[in-house]
Amino acid sequence: MANSTTDKANAVSSPSKTEAVPATMMSVVAPALGWLIPGAGHLIQKRYWRGLLLLLSVSVMFLLGLAMQGRVYKPNGGDILDVLGFIGDVGGGGWYILTRAMDWGQGAISHATADYGTKYLIVAGLLNFIAVADAYHIAIGKKP
């Protein structure tokens, strides 16, 4: 009881936990652009090498997933694993939109190595989510 009271007192007195981060144009644009085009959130903030490496890593991983005949998840309210797969795929941003628009990828896994492709697609999207969060942290000055 005493510990929880002390924790609350510390949380209130600590300025780092109570300070609101000012919303700037860059803190909105960089993550949004970074989601749409992997690495672009870093590129527009002049982190060129980081942006190029992120663009290359996420894009090549996503395209390899497609080339391995990986399954592309569509929005649905059915199986929880399908929903999670869809969330992962959506992280690919522009690549996912292009994939759906061009009807690339497989609806179902047709052979053993296609399962690797499915995982590549999901993880590429999840890695892009991490890159988006990093672009946001750079935009608000939390990271150099």
């Binding site: 992120l54 996420v58 590549y120 969060a133 990093d134 990271k143």
Partner: protein
């Protein structure tokens, strides 16, 4: 275009891409990024090799 990778080559490529992103996003300086990226890569590939030997032992 269709690509069929072996399990090991798929795991190594996975490790390369994930390590690059982890290194860039989880550290602040270029030197730290490189070191952490290499550490992640070693852990990924090392984990694959250890898991492979563990499965070989289980199978025997």
């Amino acid at each position: 275009m269709t690509i069929q990778l072996t399990h090991f080559s798929a795991a190594v490529l996975f490790a390369v891409f994930a390590s690059v992103v982890f290194g860039i996003t989880q550290r602040n300086t270029a030197r730290e990024m490189l070191r952490y990226g290499l550490y992640c890569f070693a852990m990924f590939v090392g984990g694959v090799i250890v898991a492979g030997w563990a499965m070989w032992l289980v199978r025997r």
